[in-house]
Symmetry: C2
Amino acid sequence: MDDRLSRVFAALADPTRRDLVARLTDGDAGVGELAERYDMSLQAVSKHLKVLEGAGLVSRSRDGQRRPVHLEAEVLDLMTKWIQRYRQRAEERFDRLDDVLAAMDDHGDHEQRGAAS
Amino acid sequence: MDDRLSRVFAALADPTRRDLVARLTDGDAGVGELAERYDMSLQAVSKHLKVLEGAGLVSRSRDGQRRPVHLEAEVLDLMTKWIQRYRQRAEERFDRLDDVLAAMDDHGDHEQRGAAS
DNA sequence: GACTCGTTCAACCAAATGGTTGACAACGAA
DNA sequence: TTCGTTGTCAACCATTTGGTTGAACGAGTC
């Protein structure tokens, strides 16, 4: 789990962190402000934010003694790209299946694995 | 980590499992066949497949002594939906920012947090 | 300087994760 | 029925994860 994509997926595998992302679409917020919504310690929320930050989903600046958390939404596109790539490949294969089956009937070659690859 | 979405994200947080998904877009395959590509035991791959199955990303049927693994690509749409929902919300807020800033200049109210929420 | 607020760091803990090896189950073939 | 092939189950281990508490830090305020 060291590449970028793995970190992004792992970050969003936690419901609390997904909720944080959802909340941050409403605008930047401080850690304490965010922590109010959850039944866990401030430190735990801070840890979650560090994971999101490590994945590049979130950035933090300094504003006095506050550390406002900002959503970097473009990173989400990275995931969408990966997902859609294989989603589409699977779809295409599914669409081709009818043709393949028809071709198999034509010359009587019913080797399944050949059809799938 | 018990809800569906969490399981799907967590499943794809591992590079091996993402590669398995990628491979399966080429068509169904047996466990041993899949395991050849990785520098790990057959049992380890079997475990990975169980995780993918738990997330609903993969299903297995019985064909003689083989257990062909099949990709259930529609589940990927579940993720895309979640991602795009918040991706879009973030985008919209970003688009509105100019208007908000203009309004703030109008009546001289420069409270940042108000602008962001 | 002393105090408070918002946040982070450090140590600790239980549970989950990702891998290993060894045994065994299910099926087809000899 | 015995054998090889294909895959799962069980026990074990090291590391990571998600949470806790307590101490400390940085920046304004008194």
